[in-house]
């Protein structure tokens, strides 16, 4: 069974994102350990790309810093392998398509499985175009997590719902990551529509910058994704690793606490 789906059982899941290699790969390793110890259920490792279309300025800048420090897809895979034994939370690689295409889709799927990555999210690869990569990942037992958006028509929601693996990443707004834009007005109705379209656990992400929004979003979803708020810390404390870890731990624990307060019976796997 999917390690990612399991992470949603029994409570509201906390999915966290950091850009791998920002400020450098060694600090990212420490950060991931900190996220894990502080209560993250799933950890996304962002693979930096020169042209991140779905990301706002915070994650763009993190990617630029990571690239300047020499981060590559290959090094991020190696990092994932190194982390594997030491953490409880499953790892998800989140990265744009071109570096994966350049690396080789079959080779990437194989190597991702080999280093123990549980899932992959490629924001600029809709399933219509992703047959090759998503097929290769499926064969390797790595979950290809797809995205749902508030403006999707019912057929599209049903399609992403049935093709996604592990969980469905529900984008909370029309926009890019980390812009502080207010959440989509019809969030509750949107999540009800998605719920009808799939039996997968639903994680809400984009624009969830702290405990307050996390609490609201968790009432509609099975989990929340927090990215830019963590990446912002990596930017602010890029020259002070101990402080970065301290602040990261503090933010994650506060998110964990509010998610644990939300009344839930946890995600219920539908009986087969």
């Amino acid at each position: 069974m999917s390690r990612l789906s399991s992470a949603f059982e029994g409570h509201k899941a906390l999915v966290t994102y950091v850009t791998a290699g920002d400020p450098d790969l060694a600090v990212t390793a420490d950060c991931v350990a900190c996220l894990d110890a502080s209560g993250a259920d799933i950890i996304e490792l962002g693979v930096p790309f020169s042209d991140p279309q779905a990301d706002g300025p915070i994650i763009q800048r993190a990617g630029q810093r990571a690239l300047r420090k020499g981060a590559t897809l290959k090094k991020v895979l190696t990092l994932a392998g190194d982390l594997k034994g030491g953490i409880r939370a499953p790892l998800v690689l989140m990265g744009y398509y071109n570096p994966i295409l350049s690396y080789g889709e079959e080779r990437f799927a194989h190597d991702a499985a080999e280093v123990g990555v549980s899932g992959v999210i490629v924001p600029d690869l809709p399933f219509d175009e992703g047959g090759r990569l998503y097929g290769a990942l499926e064969r390797q037992g790595v979950d290809a997590v797809l995205m749902a958006t508030p403006n999707a028509v019912p057929d599209r929601l049903a399609a992403v719902g049935s093709r996604s693996r592990g969980f469905l990443y529900c984008v909370s707004l029309l926009g890019v990551t980390g812009t502080g834009k207010s959440l989509y007005e019809g969030l509750e109705a949107y999540m009800a529509r998605v719920r009808k379209a799939t039996s997968l656990p639903l994680a809400l992400g984009f624009g969830i910058d702290g405990p307050e929004k996390a609490r609201l979003c968790a009432s509609f979803a099975d989990g929340v994704v927090v990215g830019s708020a963590l990446v912002r810390l990596a930017e602010a404390f890029r020259d002070d690793a101990p402080r970065l870890l301290e602040e990261t731990g503090r933010l994650v624990r506060s998110l964990r606490a509010v998610l644990d307060e939300v009344q839930t019976t946890g995600f219920q796997r539908p009986s087969a």
């Binding site: 790309f49 020169s50 042209d51 991140p52 279309q53 779905a54 990301d55 706002g56 300025p57 763009q60 630029q64 690239l67 590559t72 897809l73 290959k74 398509y97 071109n98 570096p99 994966i100 295409l101 350049s102 690396y103 924001p123 600029d124 690869l125 809709p126 219509d128 175009e129 797809l146 995205m147 749902a148 958006t149 403006n151 999707a152 028509v153 599209r156 992403v160 984008v171 029309l174 926009g175 890019v176 812009t179 834009k181």
Partner: protein
Amino acid sequence: MTQRGYYGPFGGRYVPETLMAALEELERAYEVLRRDEIFQGELAFLLERFGGRPTPLYFAERLTEHLGGARVYLKREDLNHTGAHKINNALGQALVARRLGKRRVIAETGAGQHGVATATAAARFGLECTVFMGEEDMRRQAVNVDRMRLLGAEVVPVTSGTGTLKDATNEAIRHWVATVEETHYIIGSVVGPHPYPMMVRDFQRVIGDETRRQILADEGRLPDLLVACVGGGSNAMGLFYPFLDDPVALVGVEAAGRGLDTGSHAATLGAGRVGVLHGSRSYLLQDGDGQVVEAYSLSAGLDYPGVGPEHSFLKESGRAEYVSVTDTEAVEAFLLLCRLEGIIPALESSHALAEAMKRVPSLDGKTLLVVGLSGRGDKDMNSIEAYLKKGESAS
């Protein structure tokens, strides 16, 4: 073209999920409009009365004499309203936006020509307009920034990444993701996710359609060779497309910048490899890890690291040939045309001229060669002056 916007293995729709609904809506609407006689009639009328079409196919008598070989014709897209072929597409897409019920348009621009064309079309139709332009390009093309603002457009400086056309395109896409419900994105070239490469090509094919009629009227036969510059590739695609099934040689000219071996160039088809950028699979300038690398050309309209997917297909199928021309060669061609024909060409178009000039002397006097003169060069005065002063680009 096969299903889903593919040209052989190139094209497609590689975008964030948020844009899928808008692209499907656009595709459906455009499929209707391309066959809608009223829409096509409206566009033709607009191109004629507002845009100044048809543009002349001009026999360059003194250039032909000077080079001593093939007969050289220039397709004068520089005589369009706003000074380049870009208006053909901007007007077409502004009409599409209106049919989609969108009250607002956005665009990316490099040299500013597409931005000016979009701002012009938006003013003509009373649409709100925002243009994304790299900070570096805003400095290089300050006059075009002023023109856009005069026309009522908001120009947003883009500082992310390297602050040039590729980053302006990223920013336009990001902005579109956030405003997709009321906004139409007028992409400026035959790039981007399906249906853009097809739609922009359709709006630019008027260049080739007219050329065919005009050369048949003047010479009684089709040309032997078409030469056009390629950045994203919209003027070349527009000129080539109506001749794809004819025995006419097609030559696309990319910017070799300071030389292909220097790494400072924009020869995507000549020196790139297949990748995915800005929504489609095509040739791409990238490093070994799949990171997109910066393109360089003295001409701001050619320094783009991607290229339209249909050009990649024409290259792979062998139907068209792609070569490249350096800054120096383009400037020489620019100066020669100014003096011999009294036409100041855009630096972009000067790349096509330079390639034509290389070929003409070895061709016989019966050969008919058409150069796509995609735009006028007034905008390039500063670049040219600085280049001549330093023997190198000041930018």
